[in-house]
């Protein structure tokens, strides 16, 4: 049997959005396929890799594990919401400057986890940064450059 339709209203990157979705769609699929915001990636599709990380009401979550219906009335930020189109967000620039991007597939997820951390705690310790990105996997960089990029933005190390 086909799923019922739901009218989903949420805020995405500071803009109100209303979309008709099937009741069994996942948030990551609505973001990518209905809204065309393909910066949010699907890696493992089971909450293990963090490539699908978005910020929901100020907190980093795995959009692959969230029924889109859970986002009803919530505020979602994706990687596309960080830059104004002209200037990169300081985290995006820092990832480039520190060589924290290789293949790039994990990068949006890492940046969203880092942003959620820095929004709540602008000057985290290295351990707090590690905790914030422990749910994000990178198979290229070895993480050190990612830590350095986030630290550079947080000002916790020059």
């Amino acid at each position: 049997m086909e799923a019922f339709k739901i009218e989903l209203t949420m805020t995405v990157n500071d803009r109100p959005v209303t979309v008709d979705i099937a009741a069994d769609e996942l948030l990551v699929d609505v973001i990518r396929d209905r809204l065309g915001l393909t910066g949010t990636k699907i890696g493992c599709n089971e909450g293990e890799c963090g490539a699908c990380t978005v910020i929901m009401d100020g907190r980093a979550v795995n959009s692959c594990l969230i029924p889109a219906a859970k986002a009803q009335g919530r505020a979602i930020t994706t990687i596309e919401g960080l830059s104004d189109g002209q200037t990169l967000h300081p985290l995006q620039q820092a990832f480039i400057d520190h060589g924290a991007v290789q293949c790039g597939y994990c990068t949006p997820g890492f940046i969203m986890s880092a942003k959620a951390l820095l929004d709540a705690n602008p000057h985290p310790t290295r351990d707090q940064i590690k905790e914030a990105i422990a749910g994000n996997l990178c198979r290229c960089t070895g993480y050190v450059s990612i830590l350095e990029a986030i630290e550079a933005v947080s000002g916790s190390r020059s």
Binding site: M1, E2, A3, F4, I6, A23, D24, L26, N45, E46, G47, E48, G50, T53, R59, A60, V61, N62, C64, L65, I66, P67, A69, K70, Q72, S113, E131, A132, A134, G135, N136
Partner: protein, 289 residues
């Protein structure tokens, strides 16, 4: 994966929906386990009943000697709770070891218990606190020991077609009492535990008044090491006693070899170290040695 998605505003409304769907609905809280199971096709579900918007169910409160948690309390709330850090540290420490931050933000303690996995960090910590869960169904509400809610691996004694967890309660660990959480995995995040162990205890001067030890996954359900607990009651606190209790705990359960985890022999050796360390750390928190 499912056809309808309901967001009831109360427990009564939730129970009415479960009754209406007569076994074809599933409760969803954080969804971090359920969505994976549904994608794997292990359940045939017509409707998801999302309890996460029921107001007032996400509180951590102290009432006299008791601490009470609503069913929508997440692992992130538990990890960040100063109240639980002070009065039930084993649970706060366990919450910090679940998955990773994204999972902790969504996943609830009630979902962890309802999934009935023998390695569930939240369940094993609750066992170490001798916690009770309030089970709601159409007949009313009933407090039941958490240890009695597990029927087998992934099989809950709570009837998903007509019951839900309405809360948890346990006694706060006060002066002269302490608790601790031990866990070993292949990495520190996003891995199932090779073993986990929760301990709580009370000191009476130099002696242990009582101790509780939860262990997972060493049996088909979260395990309480009652023989080791009986051994500890009334004994002199200290490393020698903890080492002996660890031997008893290792002899009363059956960790198995597992490709996902480790060999039986390794796990038994590690289990002893974890019980010993857990007891020592809980005793240190209680103010002893």
């Amino acid at each position: 994966m499912w056809q309808a998605y309901e967001t009831p505003a109360s427990i009564d409304e939730t129970l009415a929906l479960l009754a209406r769907y007569d076994g074809r609905a599933r409760l969803i809280a954080g969804g971090t386990d359920l969505i994976i199971e549904l994608q794997e096709g292990t359940h045939d579900v017509e409707c998801l009943v999302d309890v996460s918007r029921i107001p007032g169910l996400d509180r951590i409160e102290q009432h006299g000697d008791w601490i009470q948690l609503g069913p929508n309390v997440t692992f992130r709330q538990i990890k960040e709770s100063a109240l639980l850090h002070d009065w039930a540290r084993v649970l706060a420490e366990a919450a910090a070891t679940v998955g990773a931050l994204q999972i902790q933000t969504m996943a609830t303690l009630a979902g962890n218990v309802a999934n009935a996995m023998p390695a569930a960090d939240g369940s094993v910590a609750l066992v170490a606190l001798d916690a009770e869960a309030e089970i709601a169904d159409c007949h009313g509400r009933q407090w039941r020991p958490v240890t009695g809610l597990f029927a087998g691996p992934g099989k809950s004694a709570i009837d998903p077609a007509r019951q839900m967890i309405a809360g948890f309660r346990f006694r706060a660990l006060g002066r002269g009492q302490g608790s601790a959480w031990e866990r070993i995995g292949r990495r520190r995040a996003l891995v199932l535990p090779i073993l986990n162990c929760g301990v709580s205890l009370a000191l009476d001067g130099e002696r242990l008044a009582w101790a509780r030890i939860g262990l997972g996954p060493v049996e088909p359900v979260p395990f309480r090491a009652r023989q080791a607990e009986a051994f500890l009651a009334g004994r002199q606190a200290g490393e020698e006693t903890y080492a002996q209790a660890a031997e008893v705990a290792a002899s009363e359960c059956h960790p198995r070899s597992s490709v996902l985890r480790a060999s039986k022999e390794y796990r038994i050796d590690v289990l002893k170290v974890m019980v010993r360390q857990g007891l020592a750390r809980a005793a240190a928190q209680a103010g002893g040695t």
